[in-house]
C-alpha cells in the first residue's frame, strides 16, 4: 500500500507566471534531496538515518496534522503512524519524489481519512470541549482586559469555524501553503492531484475564507 504513495512525480515548479519567488522552501529545494539520501540509507539498513529523518521531520508533520485534526493526542498518534508507515515501506523506497512530499502525502492521507470517518466529531478531547471557545487550550493573555480577551477568543473561534468549514482537501492545501510554505507541485504531490487542481483548491479555499473573515481587516 505504501509504495503507492511514492509515485508522486517530481516536476519543476513553475512560477506564478513569473511573478512569484520560488525560494519559499529553502530547506527542501536544495539541489540534492538529503532526506532521500537518508531514506535510501534506511532502506539499506541504517537505523541511525531513520532517527535523523525523524528528528528533522517529526515536528513539521506533527504541526501539520495538529492543524488538520486540531486534537493534540490524535495528531501525535497520526504522526507516529506516518513514520511507522515510512519505516515499514523502507524496503520499497525509491527516490522518485522528495521525502517531504512523500511524508506529507502519507500524513495528508491519514488526516483526510480521519476527518472523512468523522472521528473528529467523536473525539472526547477536542479543543472545543476543553475550552468551549473553539480556539484551543490557551492561557489567557494577562496583558488583555477581560473584554479584550473575550473579543480575542471570539475572533479565534470564528477563524477556527471558517477553517473547519472548508472541505478537507482545501483545508489540507491551505495548511501546507500557508504554514509549510510548500509550492504547488509539492502540495499536489502530497494531496495526490494535479497542480492546477491545487490552485483551484487554494483559490476556492481562500475565497471562502475571505468571505468569512474579511470583516477582521
Amino acid at each position: 500500500m505504501i509504495p503507492d504513495l511514492i509515485d508522486a512525480p517530481e516536476t519543476a515548479q513553475p512560477s506564478w507566471n513569473g511573478r512569484v519567488n520560488n525560494d519559499r522552501t529553502t530547506s527542501i529545494s536544495a539541489p540534492r534531496d538529503h532526506d532521500a539520501e537518508l531514506m535510501l540509507r534506511v532502506r539499506d539498513g541504517d537505523p541511525g538515518s531513520f532517527a535523523l529523518l525523524l528528528e528533522r521531520h517529526r515536528g513539521p508533520i506533527l504541526h501539520f496534522l495538529y492543524r488538520m485534526v486540531q486534537n493534540e493526542a490524535v495528531a501525535e498518534e497520526l504522526t507516529q503512524e506516518v513514520f511507522l508507515r515510512v519505516y515499514k515501506s523502507r524496503g520499497n523506497y525509491e527516490a522518485t519524489a522528495k521525502f517531504t512530499t512523500w511524508a506529507f502525502r502519507i500524513a495528508t492521507h491519514l488526516a483526510l481519512n480521519w476527518i472523512r470517518d468523522g472521528r473528529s466529531e467523536k473525539s472526547q478531547t477536542s479543543l472545543d470541549e476543553e475550552t468551549s471557545n473553539g480556539a484551543g487550550r490557551q492561557v489567557p493573555d494577562r496583558r488583555r482586559t477581560v473584554e479584550q480577551e473575550l473579543v480575542h477568543q471570539a475572533k479565534l473561534r470564528e477563524v477556527r469555524e471558517a477553517i473547519d468549514g472548508l472541505p478537507a482537501k482545501q483545508r489540507a492545501a491551505v495548511m501546507m501553503h500557508k504554514y509549510r510554505e510548500m509550492e504547488y507541485a509539492q502540495i499536489a504531490g502530497a494531496i495526490g492531484c494535479s497542480e492546477s487542481a491545487v490552485k483551484s483548491l487554494l483559490f476556492r479555499a481562500y475565497e471562502a475564507l475571505r468571505a468569512r473573515l474579511a470583516h477582521m481587516a
Partner: protein, 66 residues
C-alpha cells in the same frame, strides 16, 4: 495593468501579495493597480485579513504545543 479580476488570476496575485511572495516588479505593479481598482483593493485587504487571522490562530496552536 489590466485588472487581474478580469483575467482570472486575481487569486494568485491577491494571495501572493498577502503572502509576500510576489517578485518586486509584480508587487509594484499590483500596488499601483490597487490604487485605482476598488474590487482588487477590497480583495487584497480581505486576503490580508485572512493571512493575519491564520497567523494569530496558528500562534495559539503553537502555544498549545509548547
Amino acid at each position: 495593468m489590466q485588472c487581474p479580476l478580469r483575467l482570472d488570476e486575481s487569486g494568485e496575485l491577491v494571495v501572493g501579495y498577502a503572502a509576500g511572495t510576489l517578485d518586486a516588479c509584480a508587487q509594484i505593479a499590483f500596488e499601483r493597480h490597487l490604487k485605482s481598482c476598488r474590487p482588487c483593493a477590497q480583495a487584497a485587504a480581505a486576503q490580508q485579513a485572512v493571512w493575519d487571522a491564520l497567523d494569530e490562530w496558528d500562534a495559539v496552536l503553537a502555544g498549545v504545543k509548547r
